[in-house]
């Protein structure tokens, strides 16, 4: 896969303008695209999802000035189309790479014990309500779990899906904190 350079300032500004005339909203939109593309690529079992997402954005950035005026529809779908191409190229390279060398070893997963170690530390960084919520939410299993979560949602005055979303966000924060602790070099 031939990689393209990151966009220059002008190209990047054009990209943001294409996403939304309001620069604040454009920034949010940009992050949303970034997040979604990574998720989609990960689900396709791509182990270089972030890299490919960056490549996708680079490519769109280089072309945006040419297409912005004529493109019809939600820009996010354009990004998606480019991401698919990037992914196919990567897949092809990956196959070549795979058989050029002995079979690669899967990367070891993070040690559950080590994550466990940092959880307490990271949980303490949450606001008190979230800190408690995360414990209550995951406290039970099977049938009890469902009942417990319904009660929890009722007590908070939100729907079950609302509760799940709230917990999703908290766990996302926790997960980031824990992995930042585990891999401090990658932390931002």
């Amino acid at each position: 896969m031939k990689k393209e350079d990151p966009p220059n300032q002008e190209e990047f500004d054009a990209l943001l303008a294409w996403l939304d005339p309001d620069s604040g909203r454009a920034g949010e939109r940009y992050l949303e695209i970034h997040r979604k593309l990574i998720k989609v690529l990960v689900r396709r079992q791509c182990h270089a999802a972030e890299e490919l997402t960056d490549e996708t954005i680079n490519r769109v950035s280089h072309r945006v000035q040419g297409i912005a005026s004529t493109y019809v529809g939600d820009p996010i779908l354009y990004f998606y189309g480019v991401a698919k191409m990037v992914y196919k190229e990567w897949l092809k390279d990956e196959k070549t790479r795979l058989y050029a060398k002995p079979l690669p070893l899967p990367e070891p997963s993070e040690d559950v014990e080590r994550i466990h170690e940092y959880l307490e530390r990271c949980r303490q960084k949450l606001d008190p309500e979230s800190r408690e919520l995360i414990l209550k939410y995951f406290q039970h299993e099977k049938r009890e779990k469902i009942d417990n979560r319904k009660q929890l949602a009722d007590s908070l005055g939100i729907t079950l899906n609302g509760l799940r979303m709230r917990v999703h966000r908290i766990t996302a924060i926790l997960q980031k904190c824990v992995f930042d602790c585990l891999n401090p070099s990658e932390a931002t």
Partner: protein, 1226 residues
């Protein structure tokens, strides 16, 4: 609609969508935030279900393929696992809440309101009766008409009767009965565990795995608990421990239950019910364990107790019932079927029998279902019709046999037949399904074999198809020949088929046939040709992305390497093949590779790993329609492993299961081997008639086979029979049979078995007293044995192999010493077997590699140990080596010095010596209770055996370097007590080494570090270790004092205490220090010694490092400590955490020696921190005034002795420490 989307999202997450569906959903997700969020939530939910084991088996496989293949997915899963564990740890346990809240409350009520009805009924009946006994007297007691003597006699009788009555009422059993009755009552509605607990009435089994007390009548349970706990406290007996064990078992507190049953068995070893309950507890603990590693072993122990129960009472219902359950849990299905049938013979009509009948039915149904490949084929056709790729892949991936894919073969045959017959419709249908399967292979796992084959089929001409049909017939005939052991014939036919395919441009089939040609050659065995072929095939298969077929070649190469005795290489190929099979979702391949590694680990003598791999294989076999031939090796090899681990019941069950499978498979090779193995199992059970019968069957069956392949079987059976004749004393016949086996193995080129035959032959010669023949046989056998040092590269496997095989060395030493009177040869054999891996680590090249079982040393070169002459010539004048060999009936003590060489022995059995060592070391370590006189007598007894025979040969002016053997690694030599009641250390200067060769190598290293410059000290003490990770370890404030006070004595130093003692800093300083002191905790890991932990300061969370807060042996082995001359490990048990026969003590001292440190001071047991501090400070102060390490430690030890009363009770700290390594001036 939402529901539809949920299903779609779920399939998306499991990776089951086709490309079109996938793109549609992705587009929607990109544009629709709400849908995207739903996907995120569904993903969270699925990860949670996976972590909590709530996913179905097929979803689980899809999930793993989809999530675990990316770092993000693995991270997500790891995080979810950790979070789940964390929440469980942090949240209050519901179990604990109940116990804290309810029990005391109930007791309080009884205490405070004795009039309350509930409290009254809680009163034990015995108490009530006792009160009545005190108040009422029988009416006739005061009858005046009775004459005095009659009155006296009557009174005596009445007193006796009353006494008996009161005893009956208050006797412990009475309370026990009450407790057990309450326990039984507590579980009357639902029994807590599936096995039968003795004394429990029938109740339906609980279906949950949760808290058992929730299904119980809490009131009765509390009462039972109170009574039974009191009984054990007040009247400890086998019965009370047994009763309490049953309570714990019902409450699913398996560890506690096992502890109580074990305690009860000590007093009542022949209680059948007790064995049955212990068997049930072990079985339940194994079943509840998430770690599959120890499961098989624990189930084996459970079966052993259940069989013992039946030996004691052959119709004990509970044991019969539990035995059947246990065999089912062990996946010995045929044996389980027999066991249920047997149960029903003795109990045909109770509610238990109804359960047994149901079990039996399910088992038979399971056996039928698992072999039904046709059902799976129909499911595949249906999934194809519905374009359900997920379902199609699920069934398709489960039917890949080594001889080809079941569906593919079937459909291909249909296609070819229909094409030949002009039935285009059928041909097209078959082709469409094949193409569908081919696309699935490409899409899911990137395997292009079937797709390429389909392309060929589509393009092929009529004549080509006819030729291919003919070639396929040849392939079938070849496979039949292979199955009937005619490997020569099979390879010829495979070769012909391959050539025919090649001529007709059918490359895929040609490669497959060439693969099989080479697999057959492996069995011929013509390993050279087959290896050359496989090496040629491999790159082609890789290049074409024929991943499955490539995996087959890796597996076959592993077989070849194994037959060439390159065990490490064999294991590497097998692991690669296993990894690939997992990657391409090929459970049959996983099964085959696990079978292979089961066999390899057995050859290494690692029975635990054999069982763990075998059990994993059996679990895989449950998910696929595996046939008898595929699962046979697992049972066959596991039977041997069980036998080695003294689980002869499990060995017999697995041996019989293997035989049934061999007969079912109609494979004579397997049949013969199964008979032979059963023969050995019966022999181990001392059932010699059965043993001989089975061994003879083995020979008979193998002799009926024809072709070169049959030689292998005949050789194996002959070898087994030879072993049996030897073990039953028929040595002449045994020797004859060994010779036959040797000749056969020579013909086959299979050295590994040749070695076994030579060893057996040697033992027979010795038993016959034919010393001339034995003297000829011995060097040959040892040579074959020694060759394995070069064939096994991983240290753990090597050490395990030589630990198992060490009995041969003992035979050699005993023969040379006792029969040949060749003391030097005896010594050379002993020395050549000692600490060889350590010697290689010190002198040669090695690296730490990450294997499947954790880090391991890989030895790249091998050094020859020194012989007696070389040792003597290199010894310094001031050194004497006192080297031991512990044999079955004696201990040999050699005294070696530059000036002379002598040997003496003490007659003592190895087991008695082991007990004596355990007792005395235990006394000093404070583990074994003994009064002073008892301890002194133990110390003297050991002195008598180990020192007295050579006392006069030892020169008090020299340093005595002790080279221990086996159990002697645990002996506190400095504290052995002479008849004059003096400790050995008072009369001699002592140091230790694992072998004389290591001693001399370390002496060389010490010499190179002899410098005039001041020593630089690194003093590590009382690190701020992770208290959360090691909550039971105390803080070591005296270790801080120790580190600082020692440092005061050195001018050049670095002190790292508290939070400063971080790993990176310690590692950096280590390389610059001459002397290193570690005053910290040491936590041995008995399972993986490479991962034992020398505790350091816990890492800072926000600092960038790979610090875990401790140093492991694996890291120390990686170091090159070219400057360090002395490491002092003043923590607990740093000198020996386990011993291996041959290799000796395994400890944290060892990696320091391997890293180049010539001297290490370490401890034999857990030491008390304050006295250790004093000893260490004194030791360094003596070093600083110019004494050598050996003399300084001795002086410090003597100082401690002088300070305290000169008795055993005061000697434990000083006696724990010893200097290990070489002779040094510093």
């Amino acid at each position: 609609m939402a529901h539809d989307n949920d299903g779609l999202i779920r399939r998306y997450l499991l990776g089951e969508l086709g490309e079109d569906e996938l793109q549609q959903l992705e587009e929607k997700m990109m544009a629709d935030n709400e849908l995207f969020d739903r996907v995120l939530l569904a993903e969270d939910e699925m990860v949670e279900e996976y972590v909590q084991g709530e996913l179905s088996e097929s979803d689980r496989a899809g999930f793993e393929a989809s999530f675990l293949s990316t770092p993000e997915g693995r991270q997500q899963v790891s995080f979810a696992k950790a979070l789940s564990k964390y929440v469980k740890d942090v949240s209050p346990a519901p179990d604990a809440e109940v116990r804290v809240g309810e029990v005391p409350l109930a007791i309080a009520l009884v205490a405070e309101r004795p009039w309350a009805p509930g409290a009254l009924t809680e009163e034990p009946l015995a108490e009530e009766s006792r009160r009545e006994g005190r108040i009422h007297r029988p009416a006739w007691w005061k009858r005046p008409a009775l004459v005095p003597y009659f009155r006296l006699a009557t009174a005596a009788v009445v007193v006796l009767a009353l006494g008996l009555g009161i005893w009956w009422l208050v006797r412990p059993q009475s309370a026990l009965s009450q407790g057990l009755a309450s326990l039984n009552k507590a579980y009357q509605q639902q029994r807590p565990i599936e096995p039968r607990i003795s004394g429990f009435d029938y109740a339906p089994a609980s279906v949950t795995r949760g808290d058992a007390s929730k299904q119980a009548d809490t009131r009765s349970l509390n009462r039972a608990e109170r009574i039974l706990l009191d009984e054990v406290a007040d009247h400890p007996s086998a019965a009370s421990h047994h009763a309490l064990g049953r309570l714990y078992l019902a409450e699913k507190k398996f560890d506690d239950a096992i502890k109580e049953f074990d305690e009860a068995l000590k007093a009542d070893p022949n209680n059948a019910q007790l064995h049955s309950d212990l068997g049930a507890a072990l079985m339940e603990r194994a079943n509840a364990s998430a770690q599959s590693d120890a499961k098989a072993e624990e189930l084996g122990r459970a079966l052993q107790h259940l069989d013992r129960a039946l030996e004691l009472n052959s119709s004990l219902f509970e044991a019969l019932f539990n035995r059947a359950l246990c065999l089912e849990a062990m996946m010995a299905y045929g044996q389980a079927e027999d066991a249920w049938t047997k149960y029903l013979e003795v109990d045909p009509s109770s509610p238990w029998a109804a359960e047994a009948t149901k079990k039996l039915r399910e088992l038979r149904e399971r056996n039928r279902r698992s072999s039904d490949r046709e059902t799976l084929f129909r499911e595949f056709v249906a999934a194809f019709g519905a374009s359900d790729k997920g379902q199609a892949w699920d069934v398709y991936s489960r039917t890949r046999y080594r001889t080809g894919h079941y569906f593919v073969e079937k459909l291909l045959q249909q296609f070819l037949d229909a094409s030949t017959n002009g039935d285009r419709k059928t041909a097209d249908a078959a082709l469409a399904m094949l193409s569908f399967a081919g696309e699935l292979d490409v899409e899911r796992v990137g395997d292009y074999y079937l797709r390429d084959l389909m392309r060929y089929c589509l393009q092929s001409t009529v004549s080509q198809r006819a030729a291919v049909t003919h070639a396929r017939e040849q392939m079938k005939s070849a496979a039949q020949r292979y199955d009937s052991n005619d490997f020569d014939g099979a390879s010829d036919l495979f070769a012909k088929a391959a050539a025919l395919y090649e001529r007709n441009s059918d490359t895929c089939d040609a490669l497959f046939a060439r693969g099989w040609e080479s697999f057959s050659l492996v069995r011929v065995p013509d390993t050279k040709t087959s290896l050359a072929m496989l090496e040629q095939l491999s790159p082609i298969l890789l290049g074409r992305d024929y991943r499955w077929l490539y995996g087959q070649t890796l597996n076959a190469i592993a077989d070849i390497e194994n037959s060439r005795d390159n065990l490490s290489r064999a294991l590497t190929y097998s692991e690669q093949s296993l990894k690939l099979a997992r990657e391409i979702n090929d459970p049959m391949g996983v099964l085959r590779n696990l079978s292979q590694s089961t066999s390899f680990y057995l050859q290494f003598g690692d029975c635990q790993k054999t069982l763990s791999k075998g059990f994993a294989g059996l679990e895989t076999a449950r998910t696929v329609p595996a046939d008898a031939k595929q699962v046979w090796p697992l049972y066959y090899e596991m039977a041997s492993a069980y036998l080695s681990l003294d689980s002869s019941s499990a060995a017999l069950a697995f041996g019989k299961e293997a035989l049934s499978l061999a007969i079912e498979a109609q494979f004579p090779l397997m049949e013969a081997r199964s008979y032979a193995r059963l023969g050995l199992i019966y022999r181990a059970r001392s059932e010699y008639a059965e043993a001989m019968r089975y061994a003879q069957f083995a020979v008979d069956v193998s002799q009926r086979l024809s072709g070169r392949g049959a030689l292998n079987t005949t050789a194996g059976a002959t070898l087994s029979l030879a072993h049996l004749h030897r073990l039953t004393g028929s040595h002449v016949t045994a020797i004859n049979l060994y010779d036959q086996a040797i000749a056969l193995y020579k013909q086959l080129g299979l050295d590994i078995y040749g070695y076994e035959a030579h060893k057996g032959k040697l033992l027979s010669f010795i038993a016959l007293g034919d010393d001339v023949a034995a003297a000829t046989e011995l060097p040959l056998t040892i040579k074959l044995y020694e060759e394995y040092r070069f064939k096994i590269a991983e240290e753990s496997n090597k050490n395990r192999f030589f630990d198992t095989g060490n009995d041969l060395v003992d035979v050699a030493v005993a023969f040379e010493y006792s029969k040949q009177k060749n003391l030097q040869a005896a010594y050379d054999y002993a020395e050549a077997s000692r600490a060889r891996s350590l010697f290689d680590l010190i002198t040669g090249k090695s690296s730490v590699v990450e294997g499947e079982g954790g880090p391991d040393n890989r030895l790249a070169s091998h050094s020859r140990p020194l012989n007696l002459e070389q040792i003597r010539s290199r010894l310094t004048d001031d050194l004497q080596v006192l080297q031991y060999a512990v044999l079955d009936d004696k201990v040999i003590c050699w005294v070696v010095s530059k000036q002379g060489f002598e040997a003496r022995d003490s007659k003592v059995s190895a087991s008695a010596l082991d007990q004596m060592v355990h007792d005395y070391a235990g006394c000093l370590a404070g583990i074994v209770k003994a009064d002073k006189a008892d301890a002194v007598s133990k110390g003297k007894a050991l002195f008598d055996i180990l020192i007295r025979p050579v006392e006069l040969l030892l020169d008090p002016n020299k340093i005595i370097c002790i080279v221990p053997d086996k159990t002697l690694n645990y002996v506190p030599f400095p504290a052995l007590i002479s008849p004059k009641e003096r400790y050995l250390i008072q009369d001699f200067r002592l140091q230790f080494s694992p072998s004389a060769s290591v001693l001399l190598e370390c002496t060389e290293m010490a010499r190179a570090r002899q410098r005039g410059t001041p020593e630089r000290l690194l003093s590590v003490g009382d690190p701020d270790f992770d208290r959360q990770m090691f909550p039971s370890l105390p803080l070591l404030s005296s270790a801080r004092v120790e580190a600082e006070r020692i440092a005061e004595q050195y001018t050049s130093k670095r002190v790292l205490v508290g939070e400063e003692a971080r790993k990176e800093e310690v590692k950096k300083e280590l390389s610059q220090a001459d002397v290193v002191q570690f005053a910290t905790h040491y936590v041995p890991d008995l399972k993986s010694p490479m991962l034992s932990r020398l505790l350091l300061a816990r890492p800072e969370a926000d600092v960038e490092s790979s610090d875990e807060g401790y140093l492991c042996p694996a890291e120390i082995y990686r170091m090159k400590l070219s400057r360090t001359r002395l490491v002092v490990l003043s923590g607990c048990q740093t000198g020996v955490e386990q011993t291996l026969r041959g290799e000796g003590a395994i400890s944290v001292a060892r990696p320091f020696l391997a890293a180049g440190v010539p001297l290490v001071v370490a401890s034999l047991w857990s030491v008390e921190t304050n006295s250790t501090k004093d000893l260490m400070i004194a030791f360094h102060s003596y070093r600083r005034v110019g004494l050598s390490t050996v003399d300084a430690l001795r002086k410090a030890q003597l100082k401690m002795l002088d300070k305290g009363p000169n008795e055993v009770g005061h000697s434990f700290t000083w006696a724990a420490f010893e200097v290990i390594g070489g002779r040094s001036e510093f």
